[in-house]
Symmetry: C2
């Protein structure tokens, strides 16, 4: 009977569903509007709820939808562009005046293995860990931990007393940044990769653990060595990282 169906590649249902939903979002829904619930949508399209969810997951990954347990599934606004670079301009230390971050916390602890590798030191080297966060408008978009080896910025007098206040910890964090600014920044390099939010990051970003994040790792070079390492996790669903040129035209749209 020969080859009856030539190149008939049956599209998975969830893939087709995603396309249909995507078009419906463009034409029939406004940003912020709540969709019918999953059971209802699944019934309407004649598929199992799990199949519908597979389509919704993809759309959420692409930043088209935003789902919240106990609330519903809403049409997401377009991704916000967050400046990450000014790559062509002069480099500057984190915490320089006017940067977009809010300094929140500080502690001293041994460096995690992955960080120690980036710092070219042995695992467990004592480091400062400075926590910062970044918002655009009312939305939390990124959480960062900045690691500074204790032999770059010496340990601070304030003790490790776990009972010290948030304000004290934040003040110590700012003090570490001030010390860092005394050094001469020679260069930096930066990588971007996909990750999934660990429990702590998820909490800070108002997402569930495992949510997709863009991990931006920056090494700051001073005195011919790696003087600090920053690991920043951005919400992948809501963010578009922007490495703009100072000379370039503003991005449309």
């Amino acid at each position: 009977m020969g080859t009856t169906q030539l190149e008939t590649v049956p599209e998975p249902k969830y893939w087709h569903l995603k396309t249909v939903l995507s078009e419906a979002l463009d034409s029939e829904f406004a940003v912020g509007e709540i969709l019918p619930n999953e059971r209802e949508l699944a019934a309407r399209f004649g598929v199992a709820r799990a199949t519908l969810r597979q389509a919704l997951e993809q759309l959420e990954l692409e930043g088209r939808l935003q789902r919240r347990r106990g609330v519903g599934t809403a049409v997401a606004p377009p991704r916000v562009g967050v400046d990450v670079g000014s790559e062509s301009g002069p480099r500057s230390w984190p915490g320089a005046p006017g940067d977009a971050w809010h300094t929140e916390d500080h502690e001293q602890a041994p460096a995690p293995a992955a960080v120690a590798r980036l710092l070219d030191t042995g695992a467990g080297t004592p480091v400062h860990a400075v926590r910062r966060s970044r918002t655009t408008g009312d939305q939390q978009v990124a959480a960062e931990i900045l690691y500074v080896p204790a032999d770059v910025v010496p340990a601070l007098p304030a003790g490790q007393d776990p009972a010290d206040s948030m304000a004290q910890r934040a003040a110590r964090a700012r003090a570490v940044l001030r010390e860092l600014h005394r050094l001469d920044l020679q260069g930096q390099d930066r990588t971007v990769e996909l990750g999934s939010a660990r429990a702590e990051d998820a909490r800070r970003l108002d997402r569930l653990p495992g949510a997709p994040v863009l991990v931006v790792t920056t090494r700051y070079i001073a005195d011919g060595r790696t003087a600090a390492v920053s690991v920043a996790t951005y919400r992948a669903d809501t963010c578009r990282l922007s490495f703009s040129d100072a000379d370039a035209l503003p991005l449309a749209g």
Copy 2:
């Protein structure tokens, strides 16, 4: 009876599974080694296959595993760092000598709406679409389409004959790039965001449709306007995008 369980947040099974598997990968498996199949693993951990798959999906997203239908689930090598920037160095046009891309195909067509917006032209403006791909070693890591408006590089004499050979089409693509190089590049800006592979990209990247990709969008500025737009999709599972400084030390690890 009061609050019997204080802050007992039951960890989802798949999340715990992921942690256990992740540790097993570090200690008990070599890169490239094939894991037991999903039904076997699910039985061994006493969970449904769907639950196990949720854990495997996360690990694949993080670049720890590589799954292939009909073959099995293997331990993935560490992500490869792919240079995307030399951001601090002089900017250069795509296709400049020594760049990492292979020029493959060319066609002329109306610009998709999203591209037209970036080009600051109306939708449907005729553009050249140059397709390029990038490999590291034997692995396909990225697929790109470069859009150049027809009023920046004029239409090429070679006809739209759909029967022209691959070699002819590649030659036309290179011709477009050559014309582009005659312009004075004033600047560029670049964004990175998470996307999912469309059917064509998935094929070129040897992945299933919907696979997570890092979408790098670059606008090239010349003569005070956007002279070209590149949309490059990198495999998010295997790639770490690197924006290295020329001055910086080489990245360890």
